[in-house]
Amino acid sequence: MGLELAPYQAPSGFLLPSIHSWSAFYTYQPNPRTFLTQSQDWTSLLLAYARFRRLWLLALSDADAAAAGLGEGGKGTEWAEALHNPRLRPPRTISRKILLLVIEQLIASDRAIPDPPKQTSSVVLCWRSVPEWAGVLHEWALKTGQTNTILTLFEISNPAVESELSGMPEVLLRRAIAVLARTGKAQVIEGGEGGGVRFFP
């Protein structure tokens, strides 16, 4: 066995860091100093991967799904490249304990929003911070000439022309709108069907 660990380009095109090819990365490290670096590496890997593939949701069950190698198109498989390494002998999968602690850290650092609220086994990932998303949202409204009209949340996350906001989960969208509302760049309009929002230049 060689001693050199190299980055690996996954089939999706994402470049996995060399530590992903190291067997011990997948077991929870009981030494707190060691775990500090391990959890940091997992956190940045998961955020980078989510951003690369535009994945919004991460759940504790994704680790099991990755290990079980669920079929194409299944919800578990889109995370498989990151959470699992089939090239190691035997293949390794991120332990549930690491994933749980990493998700908790992501929530604590405003990089994930529990969805549904008040639990930590399923989250929406903020691979851009909420304030960053607010900026993207406002710019999109200006560029597409949709200021001063009322838009539903569905219209924003399912625009006719594909945008950076396409597919954005409602909980994240609402937080970004709230940031804009605080600075007078948007107004939330309560109403049926989830309500709407009006953007100001």
């Binding site: 050199e4 660990l5 190291w22 011990a24 077991t27 009981p30 030494n31 100093r33 060691t34 999968t93």
Partner: protein, 254 residues
Amino acid sequence: MHRLGGAGIGGLQRQTQASQAYKPLSSAISRSQVDGLQQQLSTFREALTRFAKEHRNDIRRDPEFRQQFQRMCAAIGVDPLAGPRKGGWWAELIGYGDWTYELAIQIVEICVNTRDMNGGLIELGEVLRVVRRLRALGGENESEAVSEEDIVRSVHTLSVLGAGYQVVTVGSRKMLRSVPQELDTDQAAVLEVAQEAGGQVNEGALVLRKKWTPERARTALDNMLMRDGLCWIDDQAEEGIVYWVPSVMLWADE
């Protein structure tokens, strides 16, 4: 029987007279020796200075040349970093001291940044790889290459800090230790076994290879895991619990 200086008072007086007569002579000799030495030294310094000035760029750029220069200085008992001024004799001549200190700072950064991951032990080849990558990012060209000898020399300048930076040989490799604790013989043995097995080691391997008792192997591995942070645990291997040593791996990240 002939006695040197003779016996009795007369003999003692003769001895005193003789040694007094020798005194001026001996001080004259040593004076001329010192003068000669000083002249030699100044000639030598002139030559070395001329050499250093002429080859200033080679010394800075070419690791091979730098090593030869270092060897030459060592052979004649001159430390290019020593001297009355900060940075030594050569600092103002060729910027050699600054260069070494800059490298030392870079090495400290690498050690501090990776300490949680590897427990403060890192292979010299890995340090060299990261230094070269950092310098490439900084836009320095390849002619400013750094060699392993340069790393060792820079680490030596760090020893005055007393922070425990030291190059140690483990098995067949040179490693840089950046924590004050000494490596004990059991730790060194574990590292050696890991080096030969692609970076992994377990209780069974130590019992087999080092003829240790299982208790000794368990204690050594547990200390390295929990106390020192020198290895990581892996519970997904076929053979049960396995320990991996990050410091013997080369991490080829960009």
